[in-house]
């Protein structure tokens, strides 16, 4: 009996706006001037805020944090395409997306300065999950949220982010498999920024693309230029549409680059060259989007300048609030161990307060 081919797969790549700002007009999404400018404004704000946080960290006014610079064209178009009831499940490089979903700017500042208060949303119904430090776990949470949304008849999807490194964790594969089996309304977005701390993408996985990992679970997948906000808009719109129509999950590999250090505790000169970084800067998303908007006649230098000062004012306002005196209690953690009281915790709470008081009395 001859061997026969029983399955055949392919992976597509999508780019609408190339690194020089050149447009493929046939693929251009139907976005209004207002929508495009809104997207651009968020990208500028996210970039500016990221740069400001890096400065704060360097001045000792903020703890360790992972810069987002260069990855703005991923979470921002995605969050703008999401609906109110959709769940936003981040890893830790989705600053712009979080702000769009309604997380205050101060949240990131508090969070990266060591306060759980940075996780607390103004309203739980914003449906933003806290930062996921343990890589990979959030994938399965998103699948569960998506399943629950469908069960409750909510017509909502979950959108989940992860890094290229994260796709090596078992949780990534287990979660994708569940999503495939359950046809869960979920969109997985891999921010493939080429690095996982010092591990380059080609050492992370032997797969030719990350997108193709969806094929193993029969999940529609697409590789997208993640520095192209228009392509990302097209991809997420299709994926959310599919989820809402009950057609199940989608995997989007967004190809980008981590332009900065992994976190402020990292030194990339140990493992990559400056030339590589320089080449990546030439492809960064704001540059090409700015050019596109100018070509369309929607943008000019005067508007850019006005935006930059508007962004700066917003950031400074957030920093000011962040640096005003806190009224948060040291003993807050004792109130959130369990949802019910227990004498052991109550006793330890008292001991804790006694310690703090004794130390205050003795200076």
């Amino acid at each position: 009996m001859p061997r026969k081919q029983i399955a055949k797969f392919s992976v597509q790549h999508l780019q609408v706006l190339d690194e020089n700002g050149k447009l493929d007009a046939k693929l251009e999404p139907n976005l209004s001037e207002n929508e495009l400018l809104e997207m651009y404004r968020w990208m500028r704000l996210a970039r500016g805020f990221d740069e400001r946080m890096l400065k704060l960290q360097r001045q000792g006014r903020l703890g360790t944090f992972p810069p987002n610079t260069g990855q703005e064209a991923i979470s921002i178009p995605v969050a703008l395409a999401m609906k109110e009831k959709d769940w936003f499940v981040g890893a830790f490089r989705e600053l712009g997306g979080r702000l769009i979903r309604g997380e205050p700017m101060t949240s990131s500042l508090y969070y990266y300065n060591g306060w759980e208060e940075g996780n607390i949303l103004p309203d739980k119904e914003l449906r933003i999950l806290p930062t996921s430090v343990v890589i990979g776990c959030q994938i399965e949470h998103a699948v569960g949220l998506a399943w629950a949304s469908r069960y409750k008849g909510e017509d909502a999807a979950a959108v989940c982010f992860i890094g290229d490194g994260g796709t090596s964790e078992g949780d990534f594969h287990e979660g994708l498999n569940f999503a495939g089996v359950w046809k869960a309304p979920v969109v997985f977005i891999v921010q493939n920024n080429q690095w996982a701390i010092s591990i380059p993408r080609e050492s992370q996985t032997n797969s030719q693309t990350i997108a193709q990992k969806g094929i193993a679970y029969d999940i529609p997948c697409l590789q997208v230029d993640g520095n192209d906000p228009l392509a990302m808009h097209v991809a997420i719109t299709e994926a959310l549409d599919r989820a809402r129509k009950g057609e199940g999950p989608t995997l989007i590999e967004a190809v980008t680059y981590r332009l900065m250090m992994h976190t402020t505790a990292d030194d990339p000169t140990k493992y990559r060259t400056e030339e590589e970084e320089k080449r990546a800067w030439e492809k960064e998303p704001l540059l090409r989007f700015n050019k596109y908007l100018k070509d369309k006649g929607f943008w000019d230098d005067a508007k850019e300048e006005a935006l930059l000062s508007e962004v700066k004012a917003k950031i400074e306002e957030a920093v000011k609030e962040f640096e005003s005196p806190l009224e948060w209690q040291q003993d807050e953690p004792f109130k959130h161990v369990f949802g019910t009281e227990h004498p052991v915790i109550t006793q330890q709470h008292e001991d804790f307060l006694a310690n703090v008081k004794r130390e205050a009395d003795h200076g």
């Binding site: 703890g63 090596s168 964790e169 010092s198 052991v344 130390e359």
Partner: protein
């Protein structure tokens, strides 16, 4: 003899043991090119090459699972969990196989491997980067758990751990990584596992601690000795499991009073075990209840609040004074 910090001392142990034994393999996330996020494995790739120093994909379970395979085949993997907070992703492999293979096969297959992991608080890090969970591993039969407290014993214990025939969880108190230096002899020095150390002799009270808590413990003892002239015996546990009860019991038999200082949450922990063993073997010698100064049974707070949750010198002093007064 050179003055090294703990990072350099552990790095020295790895260099020396890899040079000596070609079965020793180092693997983990960012351990090769980057030399480890804390630089513990710096220079190993250059010296021993990429067949012996492996940057792995990002997957804790696979790091341990493949190491178990390597160990059963006769190699001695020394793997790194980047932070102890991420080690739970390997727990299935560790509990189900690393700790059981010897018993399962009556010793035919064994798993001589070391899992190094930085742990503990006080470094202003993000969530999952500050916990002390040594009891979690110590509770597993078949697992050895070792915690050095300074550069010199870190080097000597790591050598013993690599040579040990069983899986050893080698927990490195990251707060002590660069906190101080010690003379570390060039020639190899090995300390036995399963043995604690009396670091200061005394007659009126026994202080027991381990890891990063040894520093506030020593300082507090010095302060009490100076203020009240109390003679304090101090024990550095070094190996958490299997625990050396004899040294503690012998000491308490002499002093009659004991304070245990532990960074980890209070309940079901190492200090509880020490107390139980004293109860078993030295109850009639006690002049005061064994006192435990510990962390709290709360989810480890982010670093904004962290400091008030860690045992510190004043709290150790207070615990000693209360025990002396009893």
């Amino acid at each position: 003899m050179a003055k090294l910090n703990m990072v350099q001392a552990i790095n020295l142990a790895l260099h020396q043991e890899m040079a000596k034994d070609k079965d020793v393999i180092v693997l983990g996330e960012d351990v090769a090119v980057d030399g480890g996020v804390f630089r513990l494995t710096e220079g190993l790739l250059d010296e021993f090459g990429k067949d012996r120093v492996l940057d792995t994909p990002l997957a804790e379970s696979a790091i341990i699972g493949t190491s178990i395979g390597m160990a059963m085949a006769g190699l001695k993997p020394v793997c790194e969990m980047q932070f102890s907070g991420f080690s739970y992703l390997m727990m299935g492999q560790f509990e189900a196989h690393a700790t059981r293979m010897r018993a399962r096969t009556h010793g035919q297959f064994t798993v001589p491997m070391v899992i190094r992991m930085p742990f503990g608080g006080g470094v202003r890090a993000l969530e999952h980067h500050s916990e002390s969970r040594e009891a979690t591993y110590a509770h597993l039969p078949g697992a050895k758990v070792v915690i050095p407290s300074g550069p010199r014993n870190a080097r000597a214990l790591l050598l013993a751990a690599i040579r040990d025939p069983d899986p050893v969880v080698f927990m490195e108190p990251k707060h002590s990584y660069r906190a101080f230096r010690e003379e570390v002899p060039d020639q190899e020095e090995v300390m036995p596992l399963g043995k604690s150390q009396v670091v200061q002799e005394g007659t009126e009270l026994t202080l027991v601690s381990w890891g990063a808590m040894m520093r506030p413990t020593l300082k507090a003892a010095a302060q009490v000795e100076k203020e009240h002239g109390t003679s304090i015996e101090i024990i550095d546990l070094l190996t958490i499991s299997p625990m050396d009860s004899d040294t503690v019991v012998e000491s308490v038999t002499k002093t009659g009073r004991c304070v245990v200082v532990q960074e980890a949450p209070r309940s079901f922990g190492v200090s509880s075990e020490i107390t139980a063993r004293i109860n078993d073997k030295a109850f009639l010698y006690l002049e005061a209840p064994v006192r435990r100064l510990t962390g709290f049974d709360v989810v480890t707070p982010y670093f904004g609040r962290e400091k008030s949750y860690l045992p510190n010198v004043p709290r150790v002093v207070h615990a000693i004074e209360e025990t002396l007064k009893f």
